[in-house]
């Protein structure tokens, strides 16, 4: 199996810093004056060089149909490589619908790299095979207990038991990929024919990168994207579009989600949506390609507390996927405090808005007295 590790971690946000281009600053050894000189020379050299981020134009985001879309290929790649922002609309996270569809229909060059989706699919197929064998085993076992089993069936049972042991032991994936003959246009599903040009057999790209509201506002706040509707939207426009109203209340759903999002992003975490696990966010140390998310975040406010049943439910789901549940309590300002800041006319007001909210965290973990002894 070709596992993909070609991606290396570049940066937590889409900003290119000087040392990325000009090299890291050398170490200083306090007792060695030459290392001090070396450091300052290099420091000044970088200082007088042009700032790399300035030469990179902002990434463009289109606001259409109430969604934030990134359509430019390079911009999509940069948002993904630098901090894992956005999601491919037809992929689990990274945009790979186009290449996996090409592979499925045997269009273009054979690509031997496997996407996450394909690995999952293969695992599921193995699991289905395992279950089939297991059902057979259970049927035969039942016959054996009732003493209705024949000689040949007894032999079959032995065989099945052996294969089941093999299945259980085998946790390494062996995926064989074979070069296959292209599928003819007329043999394709009508759905696929719709997006393939019969003449040139080229596949139409129907996937794009979608940014969620919190991601868009974060990227706009750190000024690395331009958002266009008919005209370019200002930071303020984006804010109100995300809030869904011109007069947001202090406990506006977007503002609360954003507070938590910004909190963890600024602490260096890669924050992704947690809908699959029944919580608000999940936190990755670096990003999805490198490790599983370690924490699930649940936002709680005073006005909207969670019941014990709800907490138990989320905690068990998060626990079963080996993550920690972090309860994120947000203290909300009064409507007056919020409006006072929103009435200001400068863009810095959004940083002051963030200061109005306070975040407290608690790690919530199920403790089983006779199992968790250490």
């Amino acid at each position: 199996m070709v596992k993909r590790f070609k991606k290396s971690f570049i940066a937590p946000i889409p900003i290119t810093i000087s040392t990325q281009i000009y090299g890291l600053l050398p170490n200083i050894y306090p007792h060695n004056p030459i290392s001090w000189i070396h450091f300052f020379v290099k420091y000044l050299w970088i200082y007088f060089k042009p700032i790399p981020q300035r030469s990179i134009s902002n990434l463009s985001v289109v606001f259409e149909d109430n969604l934030f879309k990134v359509l430019n290929k390079q911009h999509q790649e940069r948002l993904w490589d630098y901090g894992f922002f956005g999601k491919g609309t037809l992929s689990r996270s990274e945009l790979n619908w186009y290449s996996s569809t090409q592979k499925r229909l045997h269009l273009g060059d054979d690509n031997f790299e496997l996407s996450n989706e394909e690995i999952t699919k293969f695992r599921r197929e193995e699991r289905v095979k395992f279950k089939k064998e297991r059902t057979k085993e259970q049927e035969l076992e039942l016959k054996k207990r009732k003493n209705e089993i024949s000689e040949s069936e007894l032999q079959e049972l032995d065989e099945i038991k052996k294969t089941l042991i093999k299945f259980r032991k085998n946790n390494k994936l062996k995926i064989k990929q074979e070069r296959q003959v292209p599928i003819e246009y007329k043999d394709m599903r009508p759905e696929d024919q719709e997006i393939i040009d019969e003449e040139s057999m080229t596949l139409q790209e129907i996937e794009y990168l979608q940014l969620s509201a919190v991601e868009t506002f974060y990227l706009k706040l750190i000024d690395v994207i331009d958002v266009f509707e008919a005209d370019q939207l200002t930071l303020e426009d984006v804010f109100y579009k995300c809030c869904g109203t011109k007069t947001p209340k202090p406990d506006n759903q977007f503002i609360l989600s954003y507070i938590a999002y910004h909190h963890y992003r600024s602490l260096g975490w890669c924050v992704r949506n947690g809908i699959k696990f029944g919580c608000d966010y999940i936190l990755y140390k670096k990003g999805p390609p490198f490790s599983h998310a370690e924490h699930g975040i649940l936002i709680i406010t005073e006005a909207n507390p969670k019941s014990w049943t709800e907490m138990q439910t989320v905690s068990r789901v998060i626990g079963s996927v080996r993550k920690n549940l972090v309860l994120n309590f947000i203290d909300v300002p009064t409507p007056n405090e919020l409006n006072e800041i929103l009435n200001d006319s400068d863009d810095q007001k959004f940083f002051r808005l963030l200061q109005l909210y306070k975040v407290n965290e608690i790690l919530y973990k199920r403790w089983i007295p006779n199992r968790t002894r250490d």
């Binding site: 969604l67 491919g88 037809l90 619908w97 759905e191 969620s212 509201a213 759903q253 949506n273 809908i275």
Partner: protein, 110 residues
């Protein structure tokens, strides 16, 4: 793009369903389609599935709303399905699917 068409695209091109159709019943959009394989091991064979698209929000889901989905599907197909699927769409384009059964079902081995 309506919620239903998002779900349709997702089913057709990410999950490889066929015959995906959007039905408009009064103000409700219902999607039907055939998955590439049967969805549950207890199913006899692959069958037409009914999907209700929903935007993820803080709103609460009521029993009468679910009941309404079942009766609308009855109008469409002449039959109350044993289960329907709810497709919850998130603002980052994730769609999560959940089964809703009409009554109690026997738990099955994982």
């Amino acid at each position: 793009m309506s919620l239903a068409s998002k779900v349709k695209t997702n089913l057709q091109y990410q999950n490889l369903w066929t015959n995906v159709t959007i039905h408009q019943v009064s103000d409700l959009e219902i999607v039907s389609g055939i998955p590439p394989n049967k969805l549950s091991s207890v199913d006899e064979e692959n069958q037409v599935e009914w999907i209700i698209p929903k935007m993820f929000s803080q709103d609460k889901l009521s029993v009468s709303e679910i009941q309404n989905w079942f009766s609308k599907i009855l109008e469409l197909s002449g039959d109350i399905p044993r289960r329907i699927t709810i497709a919850i769409i998130n603002d980052d384009s994730t769609i999560v699917y959940y089964f809703i059964h009409n009554g109690i079902t026997k738990p099955n081995q994982n």
